[in-house]
Point group: C2
Chain length 202, copies 2
DNA sequence: CTTGACTGTGAACATTCGTTCAATATAGAA
DNA sequence: TTCTATATTGAACGAATGTTCACAGTCAAG
């Protein structure tokens, strides 16, 4: 007797169907119902879908709510593969299959309601790899520590600088030697901490 | 007669409820059912939810499928507010309300299945604001043009460099003067174009 | 006070959901 | 061929869905 379950052809088909369901989720923003999955693959019976879903669940690519609703499994949450370093080289297809996926949103944003995006103008932080035109994620809920990059209002002017604390003294330090450190005279209002930098090329 | 609808107190309450629904969506990966919304706000009748949802729909913060299912409106798709530039200053609450939101995933990734993440090691591109430890999004489907930053295999070594074409000649240019340009002798395999850079501080 | 607008309750409704069962079709092994 | 296991169909089921209606409570305006 031959164990038909481990037919490699079957697994491929399953994977491709999981991918289609994933596409539905990212397009529509919700998981398809059983009838819709059936429609997607040409099934005329919901029971065929029922079995398909069960197998995908056992493979771990599909999940369920505590209420029994379908959830996008780990493959679905975000179509982004995280791989090794640049020098480690380009990933082989085998590595790709094994690697985990993640969502940029969840990875970069801890505090959604307190986070927003600012576009960078000026090159005062170019020494820290923050160039004009970049986007920075700013969390206005975090308490700034020494060494953080902060968005601050000094004497009526808005800037992005390194925050350095030396005892009671607070200094705003640019990362470009062409600019001078700022020692606030009257007031210093720090309204956010830069948590991430994003540069888009295309 | 006074138009009660424009009561500012009401709008605040509505906004906060929209935020709670948004939180449900980003936590669970799906929209809550009417009963669940009712449970969320202490409603004992689904009709109360029905009317709440209708008002949120008219405000545009909630949407519907072609099948009538609830969809996360523009506020929901990604809890990320895009605002002005650094020097324009910190956004006032009024601006926040007006601004659009977006998803980092959708913003940065055009081709999900062909895109993945590499971690940067080495400082050969530090002149372009790409530092060791940064993450780069790589699209292996795009055809590289001159001026693009590419991931390439030269003589058995993997690197990330600027790609420059001069006629037939192809040169890989680092963005750090400490490194020398690379003129591939035997073979040059370009396997992806860097479409974005991400640096996470916390 | 009364009136009117708004909000929430509670019960009904048709529809769709996911699930289960028996029956049929298909394909490979013996 | 026959046997056996899997795949799909089709019909049924209870539970949950979103929607609608009539009714009661609240609060401000007149």
């Amino acid at each position: 007797m031959v164990n038909i379950r481990s037919n490699p052809n079957d697994e491929e088909k399953l994977k491709s169907r999981a991918t289609e369901i994933s596409a539905f989720y990212s397009n529509k923003g919700r998981m398809p119902s059983f009838s819709e999955i059936g429609q997607l693959f040409g099934f005329k019976s919901k029971n065929a879908v029922f079995r398909l879903v069960n197998r995908l669940e056992k493979l771990g690519v599909l999940g369920r709510d505590e209420k029994g609703r379908l959830l996008p499994g780990r493959i679905m949450t975000a179509p982004l593969k995280v791989l090794g370093t640049v020098e480690a080289g380009f990933p082989s297809p085998a590595e790709e299959e094994l690697s985990d996926t993640m969502s940029l949103d969840k990875f970069l944003i801890q505090n959604p309601s307190a986070t927003f995006v600012l576009k960078v103008s000026g090159d005062s932080m170019s020494g820290a790899g923050i160039l004009p035109g970049d986007m920075v994620l700013v969390d206005k809920g975090q308490t700034p520590k020494s060494g953080d990059i902060v968005i601050a209002e000094v004497d009526g002017q808005w800037t992005m600088k390194y925050l350095k604390k030396r005892g009671e003294q607070v200094v705003l330090l640019p990362a470009n030697p062409a600019y001078k450190p700022i020692r606030p005279k009257t007031e210093l209002k720090i309204s956010g901490v830069v948590t991430a930098v994003i540069r888009k090329y295309k």
